[in-house]
């Protein structure tokens, strides 16, 4: 639908082949995902009731998706009663037009932004740029990506493909306030970013954010973050515009007690992330005087109509599935051709956009169906099940499909794949060991294929082409 496929983006296997050839990218990714993976397992193992929290999170999301109209109407009513203004957008173009108009009405030509998958999905920065409005990304990683004229490669750590020396070069080149003797010490780089952005925050009059959750019952919107740039954006400007996918709504404030436990542990492996902000409409004397909430469909209602595929809408964007994925670890985020990389991207993008393009039709094949993603998912999305389902719906051109199939380049080397699967398997065993006897890992149903090992299957298929 209206989520942009990155211009000139090759289908997954081509892009993956390039990424795999880039050894530095591969090293950065492997180190990063390995570290997060181990920390997450420990953070999750600390809670004896993880399975129950996960089950409840899943049920709350399924319930909400089943009564989405009801909860969206309630959210609209409560946000409005609290002094906010609610807007509805069927697709990216409508959402971009609404945000552009709202910014224009303030007379400003610059907005500060806090990292948001939804705004990236609709290509908001590009749309604003066309209208002469500069969108300044304020997450450190997004800043690195923006200054480096680059695309993000990870939901949570978008600059995971850049190492410190590269970041220093980017800052030196593109950040006027960066000191001449800037080192590649992470603390020095963060300090340079702090100074660069502080001035923008204090001067900003309009901010654009996404939302992690919105509570229908109260009209409360939440942003979960680490750095404090979210708080800056949500607090200091006069006008706040929040773009939110319609699936982010939760029925009641009580539901937060589940999601504020499972999200931080799944995403950054912390007991709690450094900052979470909640606001309800506008508060006189504190924070923005105008609040706009843009509710975005952009393929979501269509996804909801698919009984198997709709579970992708439970996603809370924690990125745990990326970090355990052997294909993602080899191929990198850019290979997925959308703002949503990794296993969740492989099932979400083709549903939001449809299976029309080569890249979208190839995404359901960008997996070995090893199931590691399902095991870590805090809302229990059975990603392999959806992948298999979407494979059945993808355009039927067998030769092409085999050629595109399964990250060929990434996984052509037996040694590499064995290593990747070993790593994934080891993390699963670690989870099992820590979480026995009720580990869900022991009970899940693996969907159709892998009686044959993935590698054997792929080799057999490749050899036939």
């Amino acid at each position: 639908m209206s989520m942009p496929t990155y211009l000139g983006m090759p289908p997954f296997p081509d892009a993956a082949r390039e990424a795999v050839a880039d050894t530095r990218l591969r090293r950065n990714l492997a180190r990063a995902t390995g570290t997060i993976r181990e920390r997450r397992a420990a953070a999750v193992a600390e809670l004896a009731d993880w399975d129950e929290l996960r089950e409840c999170a899943k049920q709350i999301k399924d319930h909400t998706l089943g009564h989405l109209g009801h909860y969206l109407r309630m959210l609209e009513e409560r946000v409005t009663a609290a002094g906010g203004v609610v807007h509805w957008a069927r697709d990216a173009a409508e959402a971009n037009a609404i945000v552009t108009r709202l910014v224009r009405e303030t007379g400003e030509t610059e907005v500060v932004k806090v990292k948001s998958m939804a705004t990236q999905e609709i290509g908001l920065n590009e749309a604003l740029a066309e209208a002469g409005i500069a969108a300044v990304e304020t997450d450190l990683a997004e800043l690195i990506v923006q200054l480096g004229d680059d695309r993000p490669s990870h939901l949570l750590v978008p600059a995971i493909h850049r190492n410190r020396a590269e970041i220093r070069e980017i800052f030196r080149r593109a950040m006027p306030s960066a000191p001449a003797d800037l080192t590649d010490d992470p603390a020095a780089l963060a300090e340079a970013a702090r100074r660069h952005l502080r001035a923008r925050f204090l001067a900003a009059r309009v901010a654009v954010s996404g939302a992690n959750f919105a509570v229908a019952e109260t009209g409360t919107v939440l942003v979960v973050e680490s750095e404090g740039n979210g708080r800056m954006c949500l607090t200091l400007p006069e006008t706040l515009i929040t773009v939110m996918g319609i699936e982010k709504v939760l029925p009641t404030a009580r539901d937060l007690e589940v999601f504020l436990q499972v999200l931080p542990r799944s995403s950054t492996a912390e007991r709690m992330n450094p900052y979470t902000s909640a606001w309800t409409g506008v508060t006189p004397g504190d924070g923005p005087r105008a609040f706009h909430l843009v509710l975005l469909d952009n393929g979501r209602t269509a996804t909801l109509a698919d009984a198997v595929g709709r579970q992708a809408l439970r996603c809370i964007r924690c990125s745990a599935c990326l970090n355990v994925c052997p294909v993602y670890a080899r191929a990198g985020g850019h290979a997925y051709g959308s703002p949503y990389p990794g296993p969740i991207g492989a099932i979400l993008s083709p549903q939001l956009r449809g299976l029309g393009s080569d890249v979208d039709a190839s995404l359901p094949f960008a997996s070995s169906l090893c199931g590691a993603c399902y095991e870590v998912c805090p809302v229990a999305i059975d990603i392999p099940e959806v992948l298999v389902h979407l494979r059945g719906k993808a355009p039927k051109k067998p030769s092409e499909r085999l050629a595109m199939g399964l990250a060929g380049a990434a996984l052509a080397s037996p040694r590499r794949l064995a290593a990747a699967q070993f790593a994934a398997g080891r993390s699963r065993r670690a989870v099992r060991r820590l979480r026995a006897p009720r580990a869900w890992t022991d009970t899940r149903d693996v969907p159709v294929p892998p009686a044959q090992s993935f590698r054997a299957w792929w080799k057999a298929n490749r050899d036939r082409t």
């Binding site: 319930h63 609610v86 409508e94 450190l140 800056m232 992330n273």
Partner: protein, 209 residues
């Protein structure tokens, strides 16, 4: 109310009706279905001394933690000040700040970017996760106050500490602006090395009563 529309832009009423139309008619089974959601998780994860657990967990985030008696609090706060002026959040109990000399107190309306820090209370705290929750009421100040200055001194009375997330949320009014703070601002965006303080206060100093 739906946002007014610019000429030539999308028709907001149609977009709303379209989206809601695709989601089907309202039904009355919602409350019942919501009530049927299974909530078999624990209300709290540890028994025992919530104050000690909170102090331990918040220290884990590399916040500086002092456990003090009410009588020793003023001296401890005064001793923690760094050079420069501090904002005392409006409504902060006068006794807490008794040892902070007048010339160390920022004037009303001082530039937040120019002060050294801020002293506040809190609305609640969560022992299990080492979290401080501000609802920006009395003794906490508007949100900018605990965001822009670099040094945040926060007093956490023992009776404000909830054992775990569910208990803390039950105590809070979510329609107030809320800020959940778990340690100082941090990023792991550069090679996953944790760096404190990209944008928020770089030092969080907690006084547990």
């Amino acid at each position: 109310m739906t946002g007014p529309d610019a000429p030539g832009g999308p028709d907001p009423a149609t977009a709303r009706d379209d989206i809601l139309g695709r989601l089907g008619a309202p039904d009355d089974s919602v409350a019942e279905a919501y009530g049927a959601i299974r909530r078999e998780y624990l209300r709290r994860h540890s028994e025992g001394d919530v104050r000690a657990l909170f102090a331990e967990r918040v220290a884990h985030y590399r916040a500086v933690v002092h456990t003090v008696t009410e009588a020793r609090l003023p001296g401890a706060l005064a001793a923690a000040l760094r050079p420069g002026a501090y904002v005392l959040a409006p409504g902060l109990p006068a006794a807490w700040a008794a040892a902070i000399p007048p010339d160390r107190r920022a004037a009303d309306g001082a530039e937040l970017d120019a002060v050294a820090g801020v002293v506040t209370g809190c609305a609640a705290a969560i022992a299990e996760t080492g979290t401080i929750v501000l609802d920006h009421g009395a003794g906490q100040g508007r949100r900018a106050l605990t965001l822009v200055p670099d040094h945040h001194l926060v007093v956490v009375p023992a009776d404000r500490i909830a054992a775990d997330v569910p208990e803390a949320l039950a105590r809070l009014d979510v329609t107030r602006p809320l800020t959940f703070v778990s340690g100082p601002s941090a990023t792991s965006d550069i090679e996953l090395t944790r760096v404190e303080g990209v944008h928020g206060p770089r030092s969080l100093e907690v006084f547990v009563l």
